[in-house]
Symmetry: C2
Subunit: 365 residues, 2 copies
């Protein structure tokens, strides 16, 4: 049995607590002899800053490059609000994405039936919702140069950010979206602002070409990102796969996540290109929620998004789709049994701590 | 009695129909001797392209500069999807905003009690909602240079858009937001992505300074635009005034509009700086909805957003707050009476065409 190398980066806030539940799941898989995972730990974000005055150390970057997959918790918190910009907690995550070439960010927005009531939307608008947002993750305004603040004198400063996209970057994220759609409901909606942005014009053009050349069997629709955001709030179930750039993807995937009422439940995967020789791809898996410093260390955090992110690792990095399905089913079963962490509790349900929730899911397995 | 010069730019799609109802309201005001409005008409968007092969003619730009206020319908439609980028319908609107210096875009998101049911959100989440989104409108990625698509050879192109903000641009939009908050519930939430964008860092810094120097009596909160978008969907009533940049404002104001269930009802105002001598400011008023080409020419369009935009003109450009209040009250009364255009109809209400709705509002007045 091959050994899979995992790097665990718990990060800040509730990160270490929810990662603890993944560690327990990994131990169980190893003990059962289902697979062989070897784990290392590293620091990222505020915790890396506290230890080394950087948001991720070179040593941990090396470990990240050597790992078969990275399991990431969450970064940030008020404690590091005034550290220098270059070493703010988020910089560690952004560097991992960029240096490992993790250009494809998959963010499923699924509404768990047991939780439809937790959404601010009406039940009929979200029940059964199952969207996949495919966000470009290594380009656009996140990384384009120049990215500067200049002092102009007379008390004036000028800030500049640059959105850059090349054809190949749009092509490869398009292919990820179309390939996913083929395994789902066969529809891709591409969102940009071509009426205002040149990058939107190119985005639209390249998506149209990739579709015409390689994916005629999939339905492709284009929507302006602003009206796409509206449609997401009004009637989200019309979407299957949404593909969009780094910044629009940041906004739209968070909104989609909030629609489901299940923010503490949603996982994400960030994938690199498939190596022609090894057939492997770099990958990082993280929950959509943040570090929630207000509840950190209290055993209140919901570990489901983190566990479900590990499920995505099983599916996308280790070809263990069957085990991933079992993890998903175990989560659904535990929810159906009425167990709830504080963020999703409602009348008639049973309160659970982080650990109790993690244990219940393991028991289901 | 002073004469007020209005330029009416109906534009495309349902623009001319809904503008017709404003024209009727203006005629009534003139006939009643309440004020004296002189109107001119111009072309913008696709209709200007069809006539002159530009999105707005120099002659109409001159009229726009000479007017006391511009009343704008909507632009765009599939008919002009493949006209050259420089003369696409939206370019006319963008030029008006930029050349007239209309930097402050006010977008109220109000949930009419009679329409709370039309929202995809639960009634309790949106009933009584009253937010004011203040969007910067002449800066950011909409106008920054370079804004290009370059052919790199080997079938590769590179698209670039540039987000630029100077201190003074952030200061003046901040003041608009704080001034509005003082007349409302005294709270401003500033949204940016300072964890990723340098323009977000400067935005945050300048808002904090303006607040500390001039508006200590107002509460200022900062939120990242992605989590701000989430909060808007989860619990919109926590907000009073939201101030944000051009692109985030585009996304967030559309989402806020959709929350109310009243997209066809929401107006907007775009204001320039107050001239030190004349105390006047340039201004343009337009509905938040688009040109809805699918229902154009059928008498189905809801004229309320357009009429309510004219109400904002009365309030912000002509100091006729009392008359503006009456217009708002007339709209609310007609809605309470059960009259509905097709976009907002529900069981037990009475169907109305564009004209019938316009007439009913006039009758209330
Ligand atoms: C933490 C932050 C840099 C990040 C982003 O903006 O991409 C986060 O919001 C996300 O969506 O993963
Ligand atoms: C028509 C378009 C250029 C415009 C914008 O993006 O600003 C519209 O979406 C708006 O919000 O007024």
């Amino acid at each position: 049995m091959a050994t899979h190398k995992l790097l665990l980066l718990p990060g800040d806030g509730i990160g270490p607590e929810v990662m603890g539940e993944v560690q327990r799941l990994i131990d169980w898989i190893n003990a059962q002899g289902i697979a062989k995972f070897e784990t290392e730990q590293g620091l990222v974000g505020g915790s890396a800053y506290d230890a080394h005055k950087v948001s991720i150390s070179e040593g941990d970057m090396d470990k990240a490059k050597a790992a078969d997959a990275i399991i990431f918790g969450a970064v940030g918190g008020p404690k590091w609000d005034s550290v220098p910009y270059e070493v703010r907690p988020e910089a560690g995550l952004l560097r991992l994405r960029k240096d490992l070439g993790l250009f494809a960010n998959l963010r499923p927005a699924v509404c768990y039936p047991a939780l439809a009531e937790a959404s601010s939307l009406k039940r009929e608008a979200v029940e059964g919702l199952d969207i996949m947002i495919v966000r470009e993750l290594t380009g656009g305004v996140y990384f384009g140069e120049p990215k500067t603040i200049t002092d102009l004198g007379n008390g004036q400063k000028r800030a500049i950010d640059t959105q850059v996209y090349d054809t190949y970057e749009i092509e490869r994220i398009g292919r990820v979206a179309f390939d996913l759609a083929r395994k789902r409901r066969n529809k891709v909606t591409s969102m940009e602002k071509r009426n205002v942005m040149k990058s939107g014009v190119l985005w639209n053009e390249v998506m149209t070409q990739v579709h015409a050349r390689e994916y005629k069997d999939v339905t492709l629709e284009h929507q302006l990102a602003d009206s796409g955001g509206m449609m997401l709030v009004k009637a989200p179930k019309q979407f299957d796969v949404i593909v969009t750039d780094n910044l629009f993807g940041d906004m739209l995937s968070d909104i989609a996540a909030m629609l489901t009422g299940s923010l503490g439940m949603l996982p994400s995967a960030s994938l690199g290109e498939i190596d022609a020789k090894t057939k492997k791809r770099r990958s990082l898996f993280e929950p959509v929620h943040g570090s929630a410093p207000d509840i950190a260390g209290k055993g209140l955090a919901n570990p489901i998004a983190m566990i479900s992110s590990f499920g995505m690792a099983l599916r996308y990095s280790f070809d263990m789709g069957a085990l991933a399905d079992k993890v998903d089913a175990a989560i659904a079963a535990v929810l159906a049994s009425g167990l709830r962490t504080a963020d999703i509790k409602s009348e008639g349900t049973t309160a659970a701590s982080t650990t109790q929730m993690g244990e219940a899911i393991l028991k289901e397995l």
